[in-house]
């Protein structure tokens, strides 16, 4: 078998192997997966936004009912923080959107690098745009309502540990998931941009 024989061999073997796959069963399974995919995206968006709206409604209502100025300030910070979270997530989604699979491999690679970079940036800075405002807000609310300094300190430490856990989980995701993906995409892009160094070309 020579290199030139490969093309015919490849096309023949795929033609015969692929034919039985054009059946109702594969299509049905594909449609089911499509529905599953759609509902997964819907659920993810729904829970993300619903949680933030819940915080806005609850603390927004509390803002008007709390008598303590400290608690009022805390509720206000929580409302602003949750609104900013919605804005930040929606903006990220709009700017980087869904993957465009119909681009050339090189262009797709470049866009994926941008998307992953954005994800890394979002997760690395999660403390400033997501955790910190809510952390300050809920602690001010509790401190404003609590009658006991001990309770306030215990609450502060509990929330601190919880938020530290969330932060650590996100940083772990960056290190374990996104950075390897980013590096892999970079190496793919580098390979695609590799110079030819005047090597001969195939006659096709």
């Amino acid at each position: 078998m020579t290199f030139d024989d490969l093309q015919q061999q490849w096309q023949d073997s795929n033609e015969s192997a692929a034919q039985p796959l054009v059946d109702a069963d594969v299509l049905l399974r594909t449609c089911r997966r499509t529905e599953k995919f759609k509902s997964k995206i819907f659920r993810r968006d729904f829970f993300e936004i619903a949680a933030a709206i819940f915080v806005i409604i609850m603390f927004g209502k509390d803002f008007f009912t709390f008598s303590s100025w400290m608690a009022k300030t805390g509720a206000f910070i929580c409302v602003c923080g949750a609104s900013f979270v919605i804005y930040k997530l929606q903006r990220g989604r709009k700017v980087h959107g869904e993957s465009r699979l119909d681009l050339s491999v090189l262009e797709y690679c470049r866009m994926e690098i941008e998307r992953v970079q954005n994800q890394i940036e979002l997760l690395r800075t999660i403390a400033s745009w997501y955790l910190a405002p809510l952390f300050v807000g809920v602690n001010l609310v509790f401190a404003g309502l609590s009658q006991s300094l001990l309770d306030t300190v215990v609450y502060f430490i509990t929330v601190l540990l919880l938020y530290w856990g969330i932060y650590a989980l996100n940083q772990r995701a960056v290190t374990k998931q996104f950075v390897p993906l980013y590096e892999e995409l970079l190496s793919l892009q580098k390979e695609l941009n590799e110079p030819n160094n005047g090597e001969p070309a195939a006659n096709t």
């Binding site: 078998m1 020579t2 290199f3 024989d5 490969l6 093309q7 061999q9 490849w10 096309q11 023949d12 073997s13 795929n14 033609e15 192997a17 692929a18 034919q19 796959l21 054009v22 594969v26 299509l27 399974r29 594909t30 997966r33 499509t34 995919f37 993957s99 465009r100 699979l101 119909d102 681009l103 050339s104 491999v105 090189l106 262009e107 797709y108 690679c109 994926e112 998931q177 993906l181 892999e184 995409l185 793919l188 390979e191 695609l192 030819n196 090597e199 001969p200 070309a201 195939a202 006659n203 096709t204």
Partner: protein, 168 residues
């Protein structure tokens, strides 16, 4: 494009391109995962079809979608543990003593699996008989860069599989 038109266009696309999509799945997934990747390709083709803007031939466009889906699938963390072991197969050991179609298929599969993702994509485009212009459009390489890469692959294949050695 309404739903009915999308479904009908998808079925036509599937009928024409099924062997190519199967080939892409064959190149980027193990036997056991081939159906999963093929389903993922079908899903992404179906999802992307309404966005087709007729700037290129629909089959070339669909090829890009299939290839990028395979590359993304290969990268996903979920599939990381079961990706193809690149460079593990000693392709030079696969001599072509018997020219049976099964033996040739095995050699071709092993050779593809021994390549990097980019080289695999370049060889796939060639094997599927796409023109240099289409190959450049799909990979994002220039035509010259594509042909240089193909020449390298040809040399590599000849070095490991053909008695006559590499030509230049």
């Amino acid at each position: 494009m309404d739903q009915k038109a999308t479904d009908s266009a998808f079925l036509e696309l599937l009928e024409r391109n099924n062997p190519r999509w199967f080939g892409i799945a064959r190149a980027y997934a193990r036997d056991a995962d081939r159906d999963d990747l093929l389903q993922e390709i079908l899903l992404q083709e179906w999802k992307s079809l309404p966005k087709f803007s007729e700037q290129s031939h629909i089959d070339t466009w669909a090829y890009r979608v299939a290839l990028n889906t395979a590359l993304a699938w290969d990268r996903s963390a979920k599939n990381r543990h079961r990706r193809l072991p690149q460079e593990t197969a000693d392709v030079s050991q696969l001599t072509v003593q018997q020219n049976s179609p099964q033996q040739e298929t095995k050699i071709l599969d092993e050779f593809l699996q021994s390549l990097s993702k980019v080289d695999r994509a370049v060889l796939l485009v060639h094997l599927d008989g796409l023109t240099n212009v289409e190959a450049a459009e799909i990979t994002g390489l220039t035509e010259g860069a594509y042909r240089v890469r193909l020449h390298r692959l040809k040399k590599k294949f000849q070095k490991t599989h053909c008695d006559q050695g590499a030509d230049s």
